[in-house]
């Protein structure tokens, strides 16, 4: 399964939606995911890809990991996999 499909699956599960309802330009807020859901999604991403995601819930906009949309999350995960799995 590619990164994009897996990330969408994780986010869909958190939002209690079908993966087909999650688009690349969706924001987590659009999908009804609150701050606790966000932290849980990031944990699921770390477990799925065996990576460590730099994210502080106090300063989400200042973290290196951009969570502003599904697309930025997928791009962030791909970057972290490249950095951490080589």
């Amino acid at each position: 399964m590619d990164v994009r499909t897996k990330v969408i699956e994780i986010i869909a599960e958190q939002a209690v939606l079908e993966p087909s309802d999650v688009t690349m330009d969706s924001t987590l807020a659009d999908l009804g995911i609150d701050s606790l859901g966000m932290v849980e999604s990031i944990f699921a991403i770390e477990e799925a890809f065996d990576i460590s995601v730099p994210f502080n819930a106090n300063a989400p906009n200042e973290s290196d990991f951009d969570i502003s949309s599904v697309a930025t999350i997928v791009a962030g995960v791909e970057k972290l996999i490249a950095e951490q799995k080589t």
């Binding site: 609150d34 701050s35 606790l36 932290v39 944990f43 502080n56 819930a57 106090n58 300063a59 200042e62």
Partner: protein, 402 residues
């Protein structure tokens, strides 16, 4: 209704091993937060905390005691010893029969859980020490205080996360105010600074990796501390009759529940708790000179707390002082309200307002007088101490100068 006063105080925390050294450190704006030292700390992302350093438990307790005392119990007994010695009380006869202990802790013997899970899971041992259960139970500290000082009245432990010791002190206050007990030992203790304790907190992603900067625009989370604060709450006439040195009066207390979210704070729940404490103590809002804030240094708490203060106090919110001493001793979780009560006593008795250190950048969402970086001299008559727990459980104490 009886009046309730404080006639003894004790503590051990990252700023000091007793009340005088702790208050000196607060007055100087000293930071007790530093690198954590314990097994496997290198496997943590969060490596700072307000750890109690230079405390040799083996020098204080004998072998039989050490096998029963988790670190949170050790802290409690150190603080209780100081508080009861200061009060000058000896418990026997009728007084012993009616006096009790109410203490708060969120986790109880966390490092005992941690050590013994490690033994059976990581090291594959099939046997643990016979006293694991009585050592880790959350009421262990309360029970050991009752045994050490012959306190046979109402005793129990309160566990409401970060509000535990404020809830505990509130219960003790009610017991003395109602006449159910002439004296209560009250406060709280916490010791979660071990690998499992911090690893669990790390998961929530609310911890700062560098500093606790409450109310500062660049704040980035909480920093955990450890320690205990223990007080002697005594009925006013009882204290006066024996010529006790009275530190302050506890004049009001209120508890509320947000009934909304398991981690996010609510302005309304916090505001109702503060307003309730004022009402309970028949205090006019304009009498309040200082609030010891919950002030965790998280984005969510600090702005919510400031909004709640503005709601309750209106224009007076701009005149009162509000500081978070967590910037110095860290967040002691279930013990935090007890250690922070010391700053309230210092404000009333000594006229010194403890600062919020680490304050770097103004935040328009926290636009109150947060006593940034340096302590201040000011005469105040009434103070509040806020505690707002995960789970939306709030407890606020009001104290008056006497």
């Amino acid at each position: 209704m009886k009046r309730v006063v404080i006639t003894g105080a004790g503590t051990i925390n990252a700023l000091g091993h007793d009340v005088d050294s702790t208050l000196d450190a607060m007055r100087e704006g000293h930071c007790g937060i530093g690198p954590l030292e314990f097994r496997d700390v290198e496997r943590l992302a969060i490596r700072i905390g307000g750890q109690v350093k230079g405390f040799a438990a083996e020098a204080e307790f004998n072998r039989q005691q050490m096998v029963l005392y988790d670190r949170f119990t050790q802290f409690t007994l150190m603080a209780a010893r100081q508080a009861i010695a200061q009060s000058g009380l000896e418990f026997s006869g009728e007084l012993a029969a009616r006096a009790g202990v109410v203490l708060g802790t969120a986790g109880g013997g966390v490092s005992t859980w941690d050590d013994n899970y490690r033994a059976v899971y990581e090291e594959g041992k099939n046997r643990v020490h016979p006293f694991v259960v009585p050592k880790l139970m959350t009421n262990a500290a309360t029970s050991h205080v009752s045994m050490a000082y012959n306190l046979k009245g109402p005793s129990f432990t309160v566990s409401t996360a970060c509000a535990s010791s404020n809830h505990a002190m509130g219960q003790a206050f009610h017991l003395v105010r109602s006449g159910a007990a002439p004296v209560m030992i009250a406060g709280g203790s916490e010791s979660m600074l071990c690998f499992g304790g911090i690893k669990a907190w790390e998961g929530l992603r609310v911890m700062s990796r560098d500093a606790c900067r409450p109310f500062s625009a660049n704040r980035n989370g909480m920093v955990q501390g450890e320690g205990a604060g223990v007080f002697v709450f005594e009925e006013y006439e009882h204290a006066r009759a024996r010529g006790a040195d009275i530190m302050a009066e506890i004049s009001g207390f209120a508890m509320t529940s947000d009934a909304s979210d398991i981690v996010m704070p609510s302005k309304q729940g916090a505001a109702h708790a503060m307003a309730g404490a004022l009402r309970d103590g028949a205090i006019d809002a304009t009498e309040v000179g200082y609030i010891n804030a919950h002030g965790t240094g998280t984005a969510a708490n600090d702005k919510t707390e400031c909004m709640a203060v503005a709601d309750v106090f209106g224009h007076h919110a701009d005149k009162l002082m509000i500081s978070s001493t967590k910037s110095m001793h860290g967040h002691l979780i279930g013990a935090t309200g007890a250690v922070e009560l010391l700053a309230c006593i210092m404000a009333l008795r000594d006229g010194v307002i403890a600062p919020t250190i680490g304050y770097e950048e103004f935040d328009p969402e926290c636009a109150l007088d947060v006593v940034p970086n340096a302590a201040r001299e000011a005469k105040v008559d009434v103070v509040l101490s806020n505690a707002f727990a995960f789970g939306g459980l709030n407890a606020v104490l009001a104290l008056r100068r006497i």
